[in-house]
Subunit: 406 residues, 2 copies
């Protein structure tokens, strides 16, 4: 069960984006496991991808195609990640693009492929290729929710965010979807997220907006510390809602788009954590007072990855010694533990490196019983800070991952 | 339940080492939770300790005392780690040493303190100090097995190793114990291990022997990636079995001692993994063909820490894509995945970065059903290699750590 509010909002249509889907039987029957995005001509598209050395075939192809120009189509399948599949996997990803390009009358490089699911098996190409025409036939502009459901794997809820905003008196839309519940510790972006706006933005700024916002959204979540082979995040600006193109970062409209995009990306990233495999709690780990951002990030991830901290959170046990231990082994040089303060929400548990004198087990237990908890750490050695989002480690995480595939 | 053969061997007496214990009620009644080691005068002692920045009070005190000279006594309690306890914790560790020194008629620095158990609570000093005299009264030379039981926490079995060996026609003994089942990813040594020999070895060589052997034993095991605040490993050479002192690494007897110590340390370290919290399988991760040892070590730990790999091992599911993903995100620069080979024991699952052609699910499932499995990775870019030992991640790991303290 997902943690807290994960409801799909009203998914506003983005002018210039159409979505179609079909049941291609990639792995399981009776599910819309093949999704196509169609972007209006002139759309500017940016992407960020996993840094896993074993990155999947579709990631290789998407990167190569993006380098050639703006894509007009995305084709996404679930049920099979097309990763660890060697030259055959690469050819399958290319053939998928070529076939869709032929059906849609565009160049092959104008199609980006995405896959998610089991690693190490070849795609069922016959069924996949047969699904392209029906998926293409079904494209329409109001299918964001269908797409969010179509790209799910072990996700228990579809994930979406949508906002409308004004620039110079004109109304624009920013809508996005994401998926992912396990093998989540994105290093560039998570598998998979697609965000679109109909605002007009020059291509290099689309890429810049994506890189800036992904750093503090998808690149700051972890469920199990396992960086996927398929992480991909795409941001498209179609420009179809009109207005002059944004061509400068000093344009006040750029700042506004950045603000909206950051909010949408954060929501999409946090939805993945809320739907983390077996998650019963949503945890914010906020580290401040650091000498630099990297050490705050390292300590936040050390806490967020500790199986002992995560099981204590699952048990609602204020076993804060495990948090101290995780801070201590994060590898930060010359850490003076006598300057460290730690809070669970408003309850200070550690003062100057030892137990806070007025701390009581009752106060700690009260916070730990919540489904949303902030672990806040002050290192007392600077002004830098960073925040990471994670979930607890429950029986169900083991169950889901011991049963998956079988 | 511990995995594989974990039987205590015949624990040979080490001349010059006596051990006593008592029920001090540190945390739970009716268990021998206070252990004392007594070393003969002239014993040379070496220690290695956790690199966790939040290292426990007894670790601070032990390091300081070791720097002053050779200790005559070790005092070890379970039930309370005396970590995250600030200045009071430091004073409690010092007071424990002072009291035992007074009772035994030695200097305070000749006592090293060790604690294991819950982090963040103060030691029950009245009960602890009251236990010192009865523990001291009980010292005898054949109590190694009692000590192995006395230092247990979540361990399900006491852990020991013992060998007799000959140097220049004289018979010597090497005997040791260890404990630990969770918060295990030692970075210097694990909490706790004590190894003794009655061979005569100069003090600097005792330290050198310890450092050399700990690197490929305790520093190459992981259960949950959580480096403890209390890890300590002590090696003592009493010299009480006679013979000329070993004063050079080129002495052939040094090589022999190194060989025996490495075997004893490996056994003690692997016993900890075999008794890992919730462990149902013992896993060897052997990485070879690396450009240097560090990258082999990094990849081995990346696999050994992956919750997805560990749950697949628990489920006996040959989901080898998760192994590839863990190799890929280990952060090794310029990794050419097309040169990578992976085996589960004798079954090649990955050839040149993709699925091995002759691999079958049946063959993978056969190996995964074993309780002892070797994951072997060849990086194909050099001659370096390294090996890490770990266990799987089961429901019981979550259960043990969600229940601990309650």
């Amino acid at each position: 069960m997902a943690v807290g509010d994960v409801t799909m909002p009203q998914m506003h249509v983005v002018k210039g984006v159409k979505i179609g889907s079909t049941e291609a039987y990639v792995r399981y029957p009776n599910r819309r496991d093949l999704v196509i995005f169609e972007f209006a001509e002139g759309s500017n598209v940016a992407g960020v991808f996993t840094q896993n050395a074993f990155c999947a075939a579709p990631v290789h192809v998407s990167k190569a195609h993006l380098a050639e120009g703006n894509p007009r189509y995305l084709v996404i399948n679930t049920g099979n990640a097309n990763a660890g599949t060697g030259p055959t996997g690469l050819k399958n990803a290319q053939d998928t693009c070529a076939k869709l390009a032929e059906l849609a009358g565009v160049n092959s490089f104008e199609v980006l492929p995405f896959s998610t699911g089991v690693i190490g098996e070849q795609l069922p190409m016959e069924r996949l290729l047969a699904g392209l025409q029906p998926a293409l036939n079904s494209v329409q502009d109001a299918a964001w929710s269908d797409a969010a459901s179509g790209i799910m794997t072990t996700d228990t809820v579809p994930k979406g965010a949508s906002e409308q905003f004004e620039l110079d008196g004109m109304t624009y839309t920013m809508t996005g979807i994401s998926k992912g519940a396990g093998m989540i510790r994105p290093n560039m972006a998570t598998m998979l997220s697609f965000v679109a706006t109909d605002a007009p933005i020059r291509r290099d700024l689309v890429q810049k907006l994506l890189k800036t916002t992904v750093e503090h959204s998808f690149n700051r979540i972890t469920i199990d510390g396992d960086t996927s082979t398929n992480d991909s995040c795409i941001f498209v600006a179609t420009g179809q809602a009109g207005g002059a193109e944004i061509t400068s970062e000093s344009d006040v409209r750029y700042a506004k788009v950045l603000e909206v995009l950051a909010r949408v990306m954060n929501r999409l990233a946090q939805l993945i954590v809320r739907d983390g495999e077996g998650a019963t709690k949503f945890i914010t780990v906020a580290v401040e007072g650091g000498a630099n951002t990297q050490e705050c990030c390292d300590i936040a991830y050390s806490i967020a990855h500790s199986p002992l901290v995560k099981t204590a959170l699952f048990a609602s046990d204020p076993n804060w010694g495990r948090i101290l231990a995780a801070i201590g082994y994060a590898g930060v040089k010359d850490l003076d533990v006598s300057k460290i303060q730690v809070w669970l929400d408003d309850v200070q548990i550690c003062k100057d490196g030892g137990a806070a004198e007025d701390y009581t087990e009752e106060a700690g237990a009260r916070v730990m019983a919540q489904t949303e908890i902030t672990i806040r750490v002050d290192l007392g050695r600077g002004q830098a800070k960073d925040t990471v989002y994670t979930c607890d480690l429950s029986y169900d995480y083991v169950k889901i991952n011991a049963d998956y595939r079988s």
